[in-house]
Subunit: 336 residues, 2 copies
């Protein structure tokens, strides 16, 4: 059917492995021989068959990134980081959406293992630990992206959500807020804990009705805000623990604040893509999505190359920003 390495070898009057050596630069080849081979490749328009190479050599030069939903600007930016880093090394990347559904995740991973990907970057669901454990036993290179995993020593790249959440909460307290609501996703346990502990440390009692958890979508963000606003007395500040929720939540808050003399203060986990589109006055923790993507991929490559690395966790810092104008996010990180 298509032209194969054998055809190239015959055309160039050399043996088949010599062609392989030229293509993969895997051992020295005479300049003359090399030229003949290159000419044959050019003339026959030969394109190597990676399937065959992979079957023999046991590596596919292929990675995969599994995220909850690529439609979220955070994950999009992570993907861009992964892609840039992988492409620079001649690797290609599969993308998969899990929708945080363990069944979908499992189905995806099965397909990826069949395809013998060299490594996996994954934002696991809450129930993925056994699956990750099995993958690792099978020798699959894995890096967990942006989510902590308990009960398993595995490479993880994430930002320090807890520390940022403390700063955000302290900022609201310092601004005089005394009824601070929290909305977030199931997965944001660290941020919720930071919020609770910071309030407790400041001697604040917490109204449990002001803490709302829900699935990660814009619509839910809006609903959760409306729910806590309906509480009597209403909150004087809202901590939004997730960037996906933030998109909807900020809308609802914008409308609510437009009708109040004293606006409700806002702290939010957000990302730079969303920031460039909409940024009301607030204090925000901006997550380094692109860097998370790049560092995850680098760590994966380091593992694949058996390079020595220290520790299992890479923790990047969020950028804390105080946004003052309606559409003019300050470009300077805030102090503290």
């Amino acid at each position: 059917m298509a032209v194969t390495m054998k055809d190239v070898a015959e055309h160039a009057g050399v043996s088949l492995p010599t062609v392989s050596r030229v293509i993969n630069d895997t051992s020295y080849v005479n300049a003359e021989t090399r030229a003949k081979v290159l000419a044959a490749i050019e003339e026959l328009q030969y394109v190597p068959n990676q399937m065959a190479a992979s079957l023999r050599s046991n590596n596919t030069k292929t990675l995969a990134l599994l995220v909850p939903d690529i439609a979220s600007s955070f994950w999009t930016t992570v993907l861009r980081g992964v892609e840039d880093e992988a492409m620079a090394r001649g690797y290609h990347v599969f993308l998969g959406n899990t929708d945080d559904d363990p069944a979908k995740e499992a189905r995806y991973i099965d397909g990826l293992v069949r395809r013998r990907i060299d490594g996996l970057l994954i934002a696991p669901t809450a129930k993925s630990v056994p699956l990750l454990r099995r993958l690792r036993q099978q020798g699959m290179g894995c890096v967990v992206v942006h989510r902590p995993v308990s009960g398993l020593e595995i490479d993880t790249v994430r930002s320090d959500a807890y520390a940022s959440a403390v700063i955000l909460t302290q900022h609201l307290l310092a601004a005089g807020c005394r009824r601070i609501a929290f909305i977030g996703g199931e997965i944001e346990q660290g941020r919720l804990r930071a919020y609770r502990e910071t309030l407790a440390a400041a001697g604040q009692v917490l109204d449990p009705a002001l803490v709302r958890i829900g699935p990660l979508s814009e619509q839910v963000g809006e609903q959760l805000v409306n729910t806590v606003l309906a509480r009597n007395p209403p909150p004087d500040a809202i901590f939004i623990g997730n960037n996906r929720l933030a998109t909807g939540a900020l809308h609802a808050l914008g409308r609510a604040n437009a009708q109040r003399s004293e606006p409700i203060a806002i702290a939010a986990f957000y990302d730079s893509a969303a920031l460039s589109v909409y940024a009301p006055p607030m204090i925000a923790a901006i997550q380094p999505a692109y860097e998370i993507g790049r560092y995850s991929t680098r760590r994966l490559f380091d593992r694949l190359a058996n390079k020595p690395v220290d520790g299992h966790e890479i923790i990047l810092s969020n950028r804390i920003m105080i946004v003052s104008g309606a559409h003019t996010p300050s470009l300077e990180p805030a102090a503290g």
Copy 2:
């Protein structure tokens, strides 16, 4: 090394092809035999090697999507559509960013051809026609996404940008605007033509200084708006021909309008993801990104299956929306 089909066959006491038949459901197998095989697969934790299967069967159950930049919400949503459709049929998808750079695109495609992907979904650069022609000669299934291609009969899925641009321009004219600026990307020739022709049809003379073309980024969107606003006399309306530019452009316009008694009217190509984050009063053409992704993928599958299809172009309609409140996009499509 790993457990192979041969191991499964021995364990189940059947021949190797029988295992293959069970796995791929490729011919009838006795219920008993089937059960034995399935048990062996389970017991040995066997995962088929898709490389080997692909090498033999000449298909990889793999697609690729090449976009200018996945960080744009439009392409993100297209990807989601592609992914959903592909996953439903057991296909996996490679993602690539070209940054509209022909060299990068070529490098990417080479890697994909080596990997023997079954089909390619691509938003080509302006210079990709020869490349596409060659790919098609090699028998690669190709669908062009969201961009018109001239001089080549190739499957294309896009929205009717020209028609929408006419409606947007007519709307601005009907609202009494007489100095309508246009900002867009190099690639948006159809939209620019619609704008020019509609103005001409209405007997309007066009100030060439009010037409600005630039590369697609938020920053450029902001710059282009500032450039046309600096013109004396200033425009009374701005037509934003691209959703990526729109993000930055709408910021600049928001600031400008805040300081004017008579606001500058806005018409824009936008997308639903961006809309849910920020939507000032304007008339917008909302592009059906998710559907473009799904239809492209379906068309590709139809071609791969040699199904008869009529025509090379699938043209979807944009949704025309009149946004009135600051953050409350009307959910009803506007008439006309």
